[in-house]
Symmetry: C2
Subunit: 446 residues, 2 copies
């Protein structure tokens, strides 16, 4: 296993369930100091919701050792030699390099944060939030505060980091080049409410603005924006998205796909015999378009790692693909999305329509009712559901799972509009907003 | 329209959208004092969560009048003459009876509470909770309390009433002949938690005990149980379930189905030409068994009423059937169910297996994590999903909609176990408990 987070260790565990130590020796090398952890929980450790940091670790190397899986942290694989069937590994603690043979290789090198090439990017005080090490450092900074935090980028991690710093009394500004926040998963008419709920508690959100430079000599002191504004900053958190770590595989001669991630078949096999890949570094197939995609989501890493491990262990299982379903909660506003947005559908050559419905999370007369908005996307003519976005108060976002299940089954919007969903006043109106959005998009598609 | 609640008035509204007043005159007769109201919200008015009572009314007769729909409350249809094409209607306010002709008739007579034939059932202080009038009376009693309330029956309405009285400081005892509560929709191993959460706040739950008599001379004073216990009672609420009101239709020669409710086809047409029926009084088709069923749920009444109205208005739409999806929240425990329980499946001739998974509503490390339990039922061999039950803390129960959507699509449990559902720590584990339950039942079925 090259890489010991979700994909690698899911694969290791599944392979071990099917092959005894005498049949299969399993060794995992992980660059960071941790294996098998929840990256998605990191912003909540920074915020102080979840302590200690170790609660985010699903299994330690010691726990894996009990399963006869060797997990080496702070070990980075530097080279894969497919002819010799060896990997060259550097022990980052001691600086030594050694060679380990393999019969089967599983590449789970994950993703790395995208870093723009602007001045000051390497100054102390400029952080990512990707690994548990990052989370530990940011938590120490939060604890030493408060001060001014600038978040560069308006994606999930950036906004979750913004909320974490705000929660601990920091002055927080989010700067994004996009027209709105979360603009890789939500349309602008859906994400406005996220900005409103951030601004309502005092987080400043600056859209359509690029960061020009990060200023400071020994430590970051400010962020310079295009347009001229200088934002004071005691810490900068980069949340500009991530790219797959595929160089190691590419250097070994393993094919990458059109997304730049490692190409795999539905058994997670790469182009090289006996070499598997899963997680953020590998492509997956989008069920709606049939095209390869590369999403960096814990759900997909766990699932594809599981598939790789079952197949490594002698099983025969195909990964059925993804919809890119994602969810988060930003300052009491829940957001989620699945499948394609209308623009994505049209880019994929599908003639698509969309419709938006606004309602409440519960019966309208329920004391805790909060507003909710659902956008549904369907294919013109057939009415086949293609995607959905949900924004709203408590209870809103997990409704995305109904759309994900519907799209998974190639369901038509018209059919979903009649599905027997659950109703009681604390949970929805008698017609759930899912029904209403589905009916509206079915009408638009016909 | 015979009956002016969910089914009748949904039908009236849909028919009016398609036919102008010059094409179709629409008159609705409703026995109670209200039309188009949310019966499901009544326990929450009794509890004092929702005020005034009128908030439960979706549309008043005046609002219907603006749509050119005549809605007469306190008017009861006494006879349907299919040959003469007339209904005989009693004005309950004034005691007069008159005759109204019809071309098309829609029967939405609903359901009535089941009343056992035991002594004292008609004493003052013995109430149902079905109509808004019932809710109004119970609210007045609650406000005049506190005292001792005895709830007879452990179904949804009984438990919701129990919580309402408890919330207002009453001593509450629930007596049910069943082995547990909610035993028409949940298996005993799932419903135990509901009893625990009721008892935790001081509601007494007496199972496997029939009520023998209701005692009192001018007003109820106590309830006598089989086994001899006498429960003091200032009010008794009956929650023993309900039966369809189908006598009027049967007397007119309209066919009833095997459930005792009015038989209809998928267009909501009865056996009589030009006569439709929808809502609690009509049968519907269960999608899993293909058999007629008669559920009394607001969702189904609204949907079947809509179908009837579209067809009355000249449209052509088939009702696609039901799964019997239901949900409620009892004292912080959310419960929901859809499709078949294992016993129901076997009764329908389907060889079924079940599996139960226990986990948390959020990531396990999330501060608000509460436990949740999901039972899934699947067909042996094929793995086709047949049903599911969910019990748990906040966020648990609406997960039933994913199962409902999956079952609606004849999905296999194995396929659901890989579906791209949403994950973030405030919402679920990286494998949602839905996945885990689906995987377990798929394994059991194979």
């Amino acid at each position: 296993m090259v890489g010991g987070d979700a994909a690698g260790m899911s694969a290791a565990s599944q392979a071990r369930r099917r092959r005894s130590p005498s049949q299969l020796e399993i060794i995992a090398f992980e660059r960071s100091g941790w294996v098998s952890y929840s990256a998605c929980g990191e912003p909540y450790h920074v915020a102080g919701y979840i302590d200690p940091l170790e609660r985010l670790v699903a299994r330690t190397p010691a726990a894996f050792a009990e399963m006869a899986i060797e997990a080496h942290t702070r070990h980075e694989v530097r080279e894969i030699d497919l002819d010799a069937r060896t990997v060259t590994v550097e022990n980052l603690r001691e600086g030594q390099t050694s060679t380990t043979p393999f019969d089967i290789l599983m590449i789970g090198t994950g993703a790395t944060s995208f870093k723009p090439s602007i001045a000051g990017m390497d100054l102390p005080g400029v952080h990512e939030l990707r690994t548990l090490d990052d989370a530990k450092q940011l938590r120490a900074i939060v604890d030493a505060g408060p001060g001014n935090a600038v978040i560069v980028g308006g994606g999930y991690i950036g906004l979750e980091a913004a909320e974490a710093f705000h929660h601990r009394g920091w002055q927080v500004t989010v700067v994004t080049a996009g027209a709105s926040v979360l603009d890789r998963t939500l349309d602008t008419d859906m994400s406005g409410r996220v900005i409103e709920s951030m601004e309502a508690i005092g987080i400043r959100v600056v859209t359509e603005t690029k960061v020009r430079c990060i200023n400071g000599s020994e430590h970051v002191v400010s962020v310079g924006c295009e347009g001229g504004e200088i934002l004071p900053a005691d810490v900068v958190v980069l949340g500009l998205g991530s790219r797959p770590v595929a160089e190691l595989a590419a250097d070994a001669g393993i094919d990458l796909g059109p997304t730049g991630a490692i190409a795999v078949d539905d058994h997670q096999r790469t182009s090289a015999e006996g070499v598997f890949s899963a997680g953020d570094c590998a492509e997956t197939m989008h069920r709606v378009t049939g095209r390869p995609v590369n999403y960096h989501l814990g759900t997909i890493a766990n699932k594809t790692g599981r598939v790789a491990g079952i197949n490594i262990g002698g099983g025969d299982i195909a990964f059925p693909g993804v919809l890119g379903t994602a969810i988060t909660k930003i300052c009491q506003t829940e957001v989620a999305s699945t499948g394609l947005r209308r623009a994505e559908a049209e880019e994929a050559g599908i003639d698509a329509v969309e419709a938006t419905a606004t309602g409440t999370t519960t019966a309208g007369y329920w004391p805790d009712a909060t507003t909710m908005r659902i956008k549904a996307v369907a294919e013109r003519g057939t009415g086949r559901l293609l995607g959905a976005q949900v924004v709203g108060g408590p209870g809103a976002a997990k409704r995305i799972d109904v759309f994900a299940t519907a799209i998974w089954n190639d369901m038509s919007a018209r059919d979903l509009a009649w599905t027997d969903l659950a109703y009681a006043p604390p949970f929805s109106g008698v017609w759930d907003l899912i029904h209403i959005a589905a009916r509206k998009v079915a009408d638009a598609a016909s």
